[in-house]
Each structure stands twice: as C-alpha cells, then as structure tokens.
Symmetry: C2
Subunit: 121 residues, 2 copies
Amino acid sequence: MKPANSKKECPVKYTINILSGKWKLKTLWELQGNECIRFNELRRRIEGISNVALKRALLELEEDGIIKRVQYDEVPPKVEYSLTEKGRSLNSAFLEMIKWANTYDSNTYSLEEILEVKKFL
Amino acid sequence: MKPANSKKECPVKYTINILSGKWKLKTLWELQGNECIRFNELRRRIEGISNVALKRALLELEEDGIIKRVQYDEVPPKVEYSLTEKGRSLNSAFLEMIKWANTYDSNTYSLEEILEVKKFL
DNA sequence: CAGGATCCAGCCAGATACTG
DNA sequence: CAGTATCTGGCTGGATCCTG
C-alpha cells in the first residue's frame, strides 16, 4: 500500500497505489463530508474498523499528502484530521470512477445516491 | 483483489478493487495499445512477470469483464487477449487519474509522455 | 504455446492488551 | 482520547515443475 513511488511504469499506478488498501477509501469518504474530524469520531463512523487499522490508513494517507493531521497539546489528547488541497483535488478522478462504476456495477446506485455523493465533490 | 461486489459502501471502491493488484495496471496498459495480443507476447512485454502472475491478472480482469479471452483450438495452442468495451471505457477515469498524478507525483511525466499516453485513450 | 499443479515466504490486516 | 506494542492467521504473490 505504501509505494506511491512508481517508476514511470504507468502514471495511473501512482493514483491507484495511494487509494489501495482496505480502509483508505472509506476513510477518505468520511473526510469528504466534513471540514475536520477527530480520531474516535472517525472510528465510530467507519463501521468495523479497529483503532490500529484506522491509524494505519490515516498514517499512509498523511504520508501521501492526502490528509492533514493536527495535534492539540491538551489533556485529554485531541487530534483532528482533514483533507489537504491535494486530497480534495482527487474529486474529478473520483467522479469519473463513480460514473464508470455506475454504468457497469451490478449493484448500481440510484440517481439520488449519486447526487448525494456529488454534493461533496 | 477479487471482490468487486462492494456493498454500496463507496462507489469508487468498485473501480479501485478491479484495478488493484500488482500486475493489473501494467497488463491493462499493454492491452491499451494493441488490438489483441497473445499470452507469451504479453509476458515478454511485462518485465519481470511470471506466467502464474500473468495468468492470475488476466483471469481476474476477465472475470471483471475488462478483457476478453479468445481461444483458438489449434496445435500449438493460441489464445488472444483484448479489451472489452467496458475495459476501453475506463479511459476517462484513467485520464483524470493521470492528470492528478501529473500534478502531484514527484517523478512527473513530461508533456510528451502524457500525450503519448493519451494517444491510446 | 499457454497454461495447470504445488509449495512456500512475506506482509497485511485483525484482535487484544496496555499507556501518556 | 488517541493512540502504541505484540501476536497471529490468512491471503497475495513468487518459484518451480509439469503437460495437452
């Protein structure tokens, strides 16, 4: 899931590498709708994820510059995650992927659902 | 790499699932430029791939309806692989991914390289 | 030529327990 | 609250040998 340092083999790979991984997209998806969000809140929203898995996903996304982590030195600890400009700029790619999926995926999405998604894009 | 049967969690996931895997994109990439291509020819073009790995990639892409496998009953055996309409229609999504990667990837692609790629899209 | 059959290593991801 | 540390099983992907 790490190596976004693809060696010019195929430019699409850079994008795929960053987005591949069990929880990456779900995490990104939750961040799309919100300005910023705290660790446990994110954890609650992503059904079935463990703290370890969430931390791993967030760390990799942060290393790839997709999300931003802001830590407040308070007790109890407080950390907020949000999308970077780079993260937000994935939108046009997302839209194309959604359109493609919507054409071919057997369990398709209703028009309302697509529009619901687009709201955040 | 299999489950393209994402459960409406996130429509982007359907696309990512299909394209994820060590050799999927490279294989797809080779198929983009050619009408159809035989197994060993493909194997020769994709540096470092084994017959097992190639077969796996091709099988999964075929199961997902991205490529078409045509077997001629001859001796010696002859099998040709090509993109389906579904496979070709991934192009617009590819283009967006390339544009995004080109903006942010540190080892960027020259304009000529992008155009070279676009030729096939 | 185009794979099939095995076997095997590594790492990916989950579960659990613990902490500043 | 927001993690870290550790153990573990399973699956992905590779190597090798074999065949219609």
